[in-house]
């Protein structure tokens, strides 16, 4: 009989990846314990009532890249999964005009043509190109990459299989893929579009969470990554979960518990206990110990390798790779409780407020926002991805009131002057002033404001340097190399110790693949050990 503190598997961290990993392990019959440091699960995907009656998505706010397999395999609809549709995008231009796109293709073409007939047609071509590249690269995203350091014939064969898969793609698709993976989003978008607003709006997806500007090589990869959303059969679209992303992680928690996983809150793990190079359990900060032969870190690579275990137990190469692995968070949130929906001059009703608000009217605007960050300042005219979630989910705010989430860039983790504890309000003021330009009278609507800086993200969620993806989306940190060559298959040099956070393949966003793939690896290893 196992005693109270003995488990088959322990997952450290109850973010969405930890929950998903724990759910799969429990589903396979393992006695699974998920340990979460905070008083609630969800990590960067939580919803909190920070002002009476107003539900804030403190950090992440949109259900972006969630893999559909997870919805089915973990039977999430049984537990309240509700991916509401965000029916529009509203992107104000710099001269008081706007681009307002909805869900009807032809209506959208007219709206784009209002700015440029050329760009309307180009939008279709661009969309088709992106979908084809996403479709082509999907099998690579949706599987565990081979280990390029391995001499194992099976791994070698998998490498070769990728080569021939790519060689079989239509050459144009392959070429577009390379453009996206290596180039800048500006180069790609300038090829397709002539208007600032189309370029700016679309380039925004190429900077999210990343210390790159639209003209930086490498922003194409970020752009492509964010197109992997798959909402009800169409690529590149995102949803809003009922109750915010916290609503979603509550669904995950219910699913995990339904499979028998145990979730323990307010249980910060101090260290992984190892014996003879094998993981045997974990110790909490208060000294409580739990034992298991499988221990999974759902934290970022720095914490997984440098904090939870003694780096001296690890190969020097790996330690060096993790030391140079880039975090450098640049994103913040400024969330508002509003007395009413803000109003945009010339537009009535709420339809334009029922989706994403994109404040990034041109490539120059975004690039200049990035310029500030290069020199250690937050952007004086920041990029904002806003959404008024109460306009599609009445549970988010009292009737007639509004809750607004604003994702803001760039806000470098390391400020050249001062620190985030003193700069926090100035950032809030800057964002609010920008919104007041777009929605005159906005200032008078603000009932409450919550500013979340990279430092807050690091302190509250544990994401190092506030990087929202547990490590930048840079080519040397992706696929074979995430988080380090040789350690991209969810194992670690310590037997029985695994990793499943966003710092592993494919990466960050509320996607769930790291948690899912890690469970395959763990269950496969257990199977092999049995045989």
């Amino acid at each position: 009989m196992p005693t109270k503190n003995e488990y088959d598997a322990i997952v450290i961290g109850g973010g969405h990846n930890g929950l998903i990993n724990g759910a799969y392990l429990a589903r396979a019959g393992l006695r699974t314990l998920i340990l979460e440091r905070r008083h609630l699960v969800g990590g960067a995907a939580i919803t909190e009532e920070l002002y009476p009656g107003f539900q804030f998505t403190t950090f992440s706010y949109a259900l972006s890249l969630l893999r559909t397999e997870i919805i089915h395999e973990l039977e999430l609809p049984k537990h309240g999964f509700m991916p509401l549709q965000m029916p529009s995008t509203f992107a104000p231009t710099d001269d008081g005009d706007y681009l307002f796109l909805g869900k009807d293709k032809n209506e959208n073409l007219h709206e784009i043509a209002r700015h440029s007939p050329h760009d309307a047609d180009a939008y279709l071509a661009y969309g088709h190109m992106m979908s084809q590249v996403v479709h082509a690269i999907k099998p690579l995203m949706d599987s565990i990459p081979p280990d390029i350091t391995s001499k194992d014939p099976e791994e070698r064969a998998r490498m070769a299989a990728i080569g021939s898969y790519l060689a079989d793609l239509p050459p144009k698709v392959l070429h577009d893929m390379v453009r996206l993976l290596t180039g800048s989003s500006a180069d790609i978008l300038e090829h397709y579009f002539e208007t600032d607003i189309m370029q700016g709006w679309l380039a925004s997806s190429g900077i999210i969470g990343s210390k790159v500007g639209p003209r930086s090589q490498g922003s194409g990869l970020v752009l492509l990554y964010h197109s992997f959303g798959e909402y009800d059969g169409s690529y590149g679209t995102w949803a809003f979960h009922k109750g915010g992303n916290g609503g979603f992680t509550q669904v995950l928690a219910r699913a995990a518990e339904a499979y028998g996983a145990e979730i323990r809150l307010e249980s910060p793990v101090e260290a992984v206990i190892t014996k003879n190079g094998k993981a045997t359990g974990v110790a909490l900060e208060d000294g409580t110990e739990f034992s298991a032969n499988v221990v999974v870190s759902a934290l970022d690579p720095r914490r997984t390798f440098m904090q939870l275990v003694d780096p001296r137990e690890l190969p020097a190469d790996l330690v060096e790779d993790i030391r140079r692995y880039k975090f450098q968070g640049v994103s913040s949130k400024v969330n508002f409780a509003l007395d009413a929906n803000p109003s945009f001059p010339g537009l009535e009703g709420a339809d334009h407020l029922r989706g994403f608000l994109n404040v990034g009217p041109s490539l120059d605007y975004l690039e200049q926002a990035f310029d500030d960050a290069k020199y250690g300042r937050f952007s004086s005219r920041p990029y904002i991805d806003g959404c008024i979630q109460s306009s599609i989910d009445p549970d988010m705010a009292p009737p007639g009131k509004a809750v607004m989430s604003c994702f803001v860039q760039y806000t470098p983790y390391e400020l050249r002057e001062g620190d985030w504890d003193t700069a926090r309000d100035a950032l809030g003021d800057t964002v609010q002033a920008r919104l007041n330009e777009i929605f005159p009278g906005f200032n008078d609507l603000v009932l409450h404001r919550e500013v979340v800086t990279p430092l807050d993200i690091e302190r509250t969620v544990g994401l190092s340097e506030g990087n929202i993806f547990a490590g930048e989306f840079l080519a040397p940190q992706m696929f074979f190399f995430r988080p380090a060559p040789g350690w991209n298959q969810y194992r670690t040099p310590i037997e029985g110790y695994y990793q499943c956070g966003s710092g592993t393949h494919p990466g960050g966003c509320v996607m769930g693949s790291p948690g899912r793939f890690a469970s395959w690896q763990i269950l496969g290893d257990l199977e092999k050990a049995k045989a």
């Binding site: 919805i71 029916p87 869900k103």
Partner: protein, 399 residues
């Protein structure tokens, strides 16, 4: 001339798409906004308002009203007390279903029966010799369905009388100045109510409703959204899932209540002393086990669904628009065993689902079957499974 409903002054303002369908001779918005899925989610997450006025509404009253209806309707109307409603069907002498509908019992001797098709001649023909008065009240009554988890919270602010209404309950209420009837009924499988109002008061009721409802994100919802929810709710639709026996050409087009999944309506025949139209045939069907079909749910295997599309180099289609074609169903030996006339991708189940008719021996829950679909002008078989109806049945529907 196409007719408009009493809410038309408001629905025509609200309809931004210009897309209307014809429902029983009335203009009915297909969708009000460019995204019918957004209207769908309003129903599932807040509330949607659907103008269901095109339904036929027959007012049936008089000393013999109950007696008349208990002979006409297959389900025992005597069990429906004043202040209650019933979902019911009526059959011909051979036990084939003529139609289905909801009946509200407004008083001991007064009923309102809603039907999808015209029935006046048939109903009056059956009333001979009885003290019952049948009136086609269709044009005089507007009907507005308020469907979704927020429906009660919103309506009870206007008409507190309805706050405690039980599932399938009926109550008179004041809606502002207007006298209305509110029933806890609907076609969405969600918490929902229908407001029955004099045509003259209809616009006022709409305005009062939206004054209160708008801050909750409530929006008008069109036909498409309604038809998605009804499939999830496992509710059959005339001329899609069944055909009126009166206008069928052969028995293949006809169906019995048991074949349509209404066996529960006549479960207590032993204790039910009513003579009603079709009774003898139904008794014979039960005794001889001659039912040819069972109405069940089918749910496509998601992995197999993805496979057939990916094999063709395509993105797996996940379209929530109701497909009212006929998808054939086969057993594992490729023998045809039934079909699904109501098939779609359910946004809340995140699966392809269909209301289906299968041969009884294949109707057990969990039976593995195959579904034939067409992709790029070629047939493909997708693995599927028989399930129970309804697909979506949230606790708040009846709580």
């Amino acid at each position: 001339m196409i007719q408009t409903t009493p809410f038309h002054p408001r629905t025509s303002e609200a309809n931004q798409t210009g897309l209307w369908s014809h429902w029983a001779g009335y203009l009915s918005a297909e969708k009000y906004r460019m995204s019918d899925k957004f209207e769908y989610w309003a129903i599932r997450n807040s509330a949607g308002v659907i103008d269901t006025s095109p339904l036929y509404k027959y007012r049936i009253r008089g000393r013999d009203a109950e007696r008349y209806l208990s002979g006409l309707l297959t389900r025992d109307i005597r069990k429906c007390r004043p202040g209650q409603a019933q979902y019911t069907v009526w059959c011909d002498d051979d036990g084939w279903v003529l139609e289905d509908g909801v009946i509200l019992r407004l008083a001991d001797d007064e009923f309102l029966l809603t039907t999808a098709r015209a029935n006046m001649a048939y109903f009056t023909g059956m009333a001979e010799g009885l003290s019952v008065e049948i009136e086609d009240a269709s044009p005089q009554i507007g009907a507005l369905a308020v469907q979704g988890p927020y429906a009660r919270q919103i309506l009870s602010q206007i008409a507190p009388e309805m706050a405690d209404l039980a599932y399938f309950g009926v109550t008179p209420a004041k809606f502002g100045d207007a006298s209305v009837t509110i029933s806890r009924t609907g076609y969405t499988g969600d918490l929902g109510y229908e407001i029955w109002v004099d045509a003259d008061d209809a616009v006022g009721v709409w305005d009062r409703l939206f004054d209160v409802a708008e801050p909750y994100g409530v929006i008008p919802a069109g036909q498409i959204a309604l038809l998605v929810t009804r499939v999830e709710a496992g509710l059959i639709l005339i001329d899609v899932d069944f055909k009126q026996a009166r206008y069928a050409w052969n028995d293949d087009q006809r169906a019995t209540p048991i074949e349509l999944g209404m066996g529960w309506m006549i479960r207590d025949l032993a204790e039910d002393d009513r003579p009603f139209i079709g009774r003898k045939a139904i008794e014979k069907e039960i005794a001889g086990k001659t039912s040819r079909w069972r109405t069940v749910g089918v749910i496509a295997d998601w992995q197999d669904w993805n496979r057939v599309y990916m094999d063709r180099g395509l993105v797996p289609e996940k379209d929530h628009s109701p497909n009212q074609g006929q998808f054939m169903l086969y057993d594992r030996d490729d023998c045809q065993i039934g079909w699904t006339p109501s098939f779609l991708y359910s946004p809340i189940m995140q699966r392809h689902i269909g209301i289906a008719r299968v041969e009884p021996e294949h109707g057990r829950v969990g039976t593995k079957i195959q579904l034939e679909i067409t992709i790029d002008h070629r047939y493909d078989m997708v693995a599927a499974e028989v399930t129970r109806l309804p697909f979506y049945n949230p606790p708040h529907k009846t709580a």
